[in-house]
Amino acid sequence: MSHPSRFTAFLKLVEGPQTLGKGPKFWSVFALVLLAACIYPQFADSYDVGNNVYFFNWLFMAMGLSLIWGYGGALSFGQTAFFGVAGYAYGVLTINLGDAYGLTLVSLLLAVGISALFAAILGYFLFYGRISGVFLGIVTLSVTLVLERFMAQTAGPQWAIGKARLNGFNGMGAMPSLTIPWPGGAIVLYPDVTLYYVTLALLVSVYLGLRILVNSRFGNVIVAIRENPLRAEMLGYDIRKYQLITFVIGSALAGLSGVLYTSWGNYITPASMGMTAASLPIVWVAVGGRSDLTTTLIGALAVLIVFQTLTIYGSQYALVVMGALLVITVLIAPRGIVIALSDLLPARKSKMKGEV
């Protein structure tokens, strides 16, 4: 707080009409949560810490979907397509390029770039064709299902890109983890405490970056398009362009999730693009409250942990619970459970009314 002016200028960027959570109270809680996340590895087994990075890996895709669906109002049900494309791209690139000289980081950027390019091409046809909302959902879903089937049949030696075998249904493995070149020995990001901190830092920067984006002029326009596309267009905005850019940014984040996941587990399978995989991000984002980044983050993390716990203890019922959670959320708390719960608090209610 030595530079109050700089601090308030920063707050002005990350706070605004498009995000819940503002003022000293919110940021104090934010700082406390961040602090807790930072000191958590000191109190836990480093193996567990590495395993728990798994949860962080998915949050990028969740935030990207929140941007596209919650803020932009476009139903993209096939975010896993970009997850998978980036994951496979990372695998192919790193197996061929190796992990020296920071080439894994180059591969990361290239893989995310490839998924963004794929999203741009697909998005061009969808948004410039002015496809209606429901169709967007089923076309993106079809794309991810067809990609899954395509990758599932790439068994055999003829399906190889350079040194990288695609391995069909069994998935591709043995790609190197992300490696940061460092004087005195490269840092390999195995699932460990270092990877935890790197992913956490990336998560916080993406979260703050997206807050800046949605509260900027651009963010206001995409929310205006969600609320009333015709009016936004009459006001002179090329809605196709805004929707396409939103779609590409959100999909690139799905791609980032794909790369982080692949590097974390040294493994990617076609099933990561299948029907079940595609439905889970919808649950994370819908349950928390898709129209806000913070509620998405809280909801996604909570649902992920519940799902993981269920898969460990109750195994097969996990997906049934996820489906039920989705139906119940849509029926009872369409704005998400986090927002519904905070509406129940009386203080919050009166404050919300005051704002409206």
């Binding site: 139903l75 429901v134 169709f135 067809v146 489906g323 849509v330 369409p334």
Partner: protein, 290 residues
């Protein structure tokens, strides 16, 4: 003669693709066209039809009756889903997609838990016939005929019966229909049930030709989706012509490069069609007519 043989072979493949597209899409198209709802649990109604009809066949009931039973079971399930989940969401059509997806997850995994990973099939009936060097399944030809019969029956239902007229009135101007005494809630319920029953019919018809697994619904989804996207909201002006065009593309690519190429080709065709005809073939036809 050789030419005629390969022509027949292509026509057979085209008919097969056409039948699959029509049968897997028409339930989805009825619900979308009438209610603006994309039913993502469509595959699970197909699953329901397939499982019920196969179990009934195992009990010794003849196949046509078993298929009918599967269709009726799916239709009843559809009406229950409509009342419980879809009705509260009429004001939010986009949310119905998400809710039906939740139902789809519950049913797929529920079937896996209750009935196991696979169910014994009933085998394809009727055997085969051969023309030239190739042999063809008789049952596939029956499926092609069934696709045409289904389209004809739907056309009769929507133009000649009281239900069809009330249903069309309800989609056109719901509040006027209601003011004239139409029970629109009942019409929506029946329409959703009809769509689900058509899905169940597709499941029952294709059950003898497929492996019965809880995820089998999703193998119909891509075809159903693309047909509805290309077709638009009208079954007769949309779904049927879309199935002709897509069936042609699929048959050509399948006979050239295999099943997957057919599917990829269709999807690419669809993405390009969207750019040109965003409201589908029927949207284009109806707009020019208006």
């Amino acid at each position: 003669m050789e030419f005629l043989y390969s022509l027949f072979s292509f026509l057979y493949q085209f008919g097969d693709a056409f039948a699959f597209l029509v049968l897997s899409a028409c339930g989805l198209a009825v619900i979308f066209g009438m209610m603006g709802v994309i039913n993502l649990a469509h595959g699970e109604f197909i699953l329901c039809g397939a499982y019920v009809s196969t179990s009934v066949t195992h009990m010794g009931v003849p196949l046509p009756l078993a298929i009918l039973a599967g269709s009726v079971a799916a239709g009843i399930a559809g009406m229950i889903v409509e009342v419980a989940v879809i009705r509260p969401l009429y004001k939010r059509p986009l949310d119905t997609i998400v809710a039906t997806w939740g139902i789809s997850m519950i049913v797929t995994q529920g079937t896996l838990i209750v009935l196991g990973t696979t169910m014994a099939g009933s085998g394809t009936p009727f055997g085969s016939f051969s023309i030239g060097n190739y042999s063809y399944s008789v049952y596939r030809v029956v499926l092609m005929i069934m696709a045409l019969v289904t389209l004809a029956a739907l056309w009769l239902m929507f133009t000649k019966t009281r239900f069809g007229i009330l249903a069309r009135a309800t989609i056109q101007v719901p509040h006027v229909a209601e003011a004239l005494g139409v029970n629109t809630n009942l019409v929506y319920s029946m329409t959703f049930g009809l769509g689900a029953a058509l899905a169940g019919l597709a499941g029952g018809l294709y059950a003898p030709t497929m492996t019965l697994v809880p995820t089998m619904g999703s193998s119909f989804m891509v075809e159903a989706f693309v047909t509805v996207v290309v077709g638009g909201a009208d079954i007769f002006l949309g779904t049927a012509p879309a199935a002709v065009v897509l069936g042609f593309i699929k048959a050509t690519l399948t006979s050239w490069q295999g099943q997957l190429a057919g599917q990829i080709g269709m999807l690419i065709a669809v993405i390009i069609v969207i750019r040109i005809l965003p409201r589908g073939i029927s949207g284009k036809i109806l707009k020019e007519r208006a």
